[in-house]
Symmetry: C2
Subunit: 340 residues, 2 copies
């Protein structure tokens, strides 16, 4: 059995409350006693019992991170977010409990109502997310990472996928491209109404429309090399004069670039490319691709910040992180379109 305050008190020859005050500093304690108590704590390897402490303090310093785990795809993107949140939480001295979204709301209710966690962070919230209403009913603060259509007064933070799509579109438009294709996530992802997929596309298409660019193709890209080849082929069939590509599909990016290379299409001479993808992937690609990257770390920080504010009784404004584009030379001023 681990040592308790009682043991420490006995060992140091003081009362239990004195030990507690030494630990909390909530009352003055003479230097002598303090040292004696600290020595006893050290000697017995005492650590206050987290559970016992939590019942008085009303807090456990643990946050729950709810995360869909059944869709194994995009594992590395997901991991980036998890690590972002984890780092942010640890930086604030909080611990992170990982909870599969698939476990449903029951376990979450147990954890929150039972005061096992101080708050909840929900990842990958979708446009019409069935979890939102139940999350809204929890007895602890909740921060959504992702923006549902109706957030029901829940705090939420997100990356501005709309702006990200728009930024890519603007970038290519500014370079003079008139025929642009948006190659997005697989169709299934749109069917789910995943916020990132839908918003990025809408942002891009909207901007292209505003710019009066009529040569626009919008295609989902399915998994694997075949999916990529097929997408490129379809894209050219629909609009052979395409000179600009906006790619938001982590799985397909490499395959797409590869396919272009196979077809003898030079980047950026014949085809300008901008991608929405993690920094590391953009750098690992061949050639390194101009990209808008998902600020996983910042998003984690903001989410944790929001949760801390909520716990503090404040109600933070929703935050939407702006995108930044890093040019790596895969997009250039439009030249004379070739026919393929």
């Amino acid at each position: 059995m681990a040592a308790s305050v009682k043991d420490v008190a006995r060992h140091a020859g003081v009362s239990v409350s004195t030990v507690s005050y030494v630990l909390s500093g909530n009352r003055p304690i003479s230097e002598g006693t303090k040292q004696r108590v600290l020595a006893s704590i050290e000697a017995l390897g005492f650590q206050p019992h987290a559970g016992a402490r939590s019942i008085r303090a009303g807090a456990t310093d643990i946050f729950a991170l709810v995360m869909p785990i059944d869709r194994d795809v995009r594992a590395d993107v997901q991991m980036r977010f998890v690590l972002g949140v984890l780092r942010a939480a640890r930086a604030k001295g909080k611990n992170l409990l990982l909870l599969p979204a698939e476990d449903g709301v029951d376990e979450l209710t147990r954890l929150t109502a039972g005061s096992a966690v101080d708050g909840v962070l929900a990842m990958e919230v979708q446009v019409h997310d069935p979890r939102v209403p139940t999350l809204a009913n929890l007895s602890k603060p909740v921060v959504l990472i992702g923006t549902p259509e109706d957030p029901q007064h829940l705090a939420h933070v997100d990356f501005d996928f709309t702006a990200a799509g728009a930024l890519c579109a603007r970038y290519l438009a500014d370079l003079g491209h008139q025929s642009i294709a948006y190659l997005g996530q697989p169709a299934e992802t749109f069917d789910r109404e995943a916020g990132y997929a839908v918003r990025a596309r809408n942002g891009a298409l909207q901007t292209l429309h505003e710019r009066g660019i009529h040569g626009v193709v919008d295609l989902p890209v399915e998994l694997g090399r075949d999916g990529a080849s097929e997408a490129i082929e379809r894209m050219f069939r629909i609009q052979s004069e395409t000179t600009g590509l906006i790619i938001y599909n982590e799985q397909a990016l490499t395959h797409l670039l590869l396919r272009l290379e196979e077809l003898g299409i030079r980047v950026p001479a014949d085809m300008s490319i901008v991608a929405i993808c993690p920094e590391a992937q953009a750098l690992d690609a061949h050639p390194p691709v101009s990209n808008v990257s998902l600020p996983a770390a910042e998003l984690g920080t903001v989410a944790v910040d929001h949760l801390l504010q909520l716990i503090d009784g404040r109600s933070p404004e929703p935050v939407v992180l702006p995108p930044t584009l890093v040019a790596r030379g895969t997009a250039s001023r439009r030249s004379v379109p070739r026919q393929w």
Copy 2:
């Protein structure tokens, strides 16, 4: 404030202990009272306070998963393991607390000595892992995922990377290949003495040696397309007659295959290939590559099982999961070696 047993007791007109017995079923309760109490619980949305419960039960049903997070590479492989452990833990009704290994042993000591967690799972344990001695001193059960040279009586589970390497080697040897190259993780990974990298290579090399195969090249592959190209080039420079490749480098696999294709080397006609990599990656590769995959899910299950046994007072035997090779047609009987 959340409702407590007291509130429920008052609401149902019974004593506190009766409520508790209704919940635990540890003593007979008349049907009438039971219903009344359950109704009150429902009405008040009562959930027993986890902290308070843990002080009596001596358990929190939370496991800590210690994981290095600073090396962002291999994020998706890492994620697989995390999800494996998470699923396994949840299947046993346990929750998982994610803890960055970089936070050092302090937080871990706090959590274990303070009874915040029931046990610890340590991922990516290396051959000479400095964490091992400190983990051995924790006041709670520990299971290592990975095998250090000196496990210090700590329970440990692992994938049999040695056998995986050996299996790949045997497979190619059985197909008659006499000149084989092992393309492994980046040099830095070997410098760290990452167990998986070292053991897989040794297993492969050892087996090739036993088979009396003298045409063996052993090369690390650095990151990115350039690293892959360079490795292939060096490999051929050292041993131009190579007809078999064992690849264990998730980052490089695609790049390597690509490079071979560029060089006009046909798989498997000119070059037989076996890889150690996740199933999904093997399938996504072009062509889908024969591979030995890392059984992340099973490893998670075994690790959690071990921890449960330890908590139960038993001392489970270390487990090393055997590899299986899935043939996908990227390796064939050796034909006449061509010169490149």
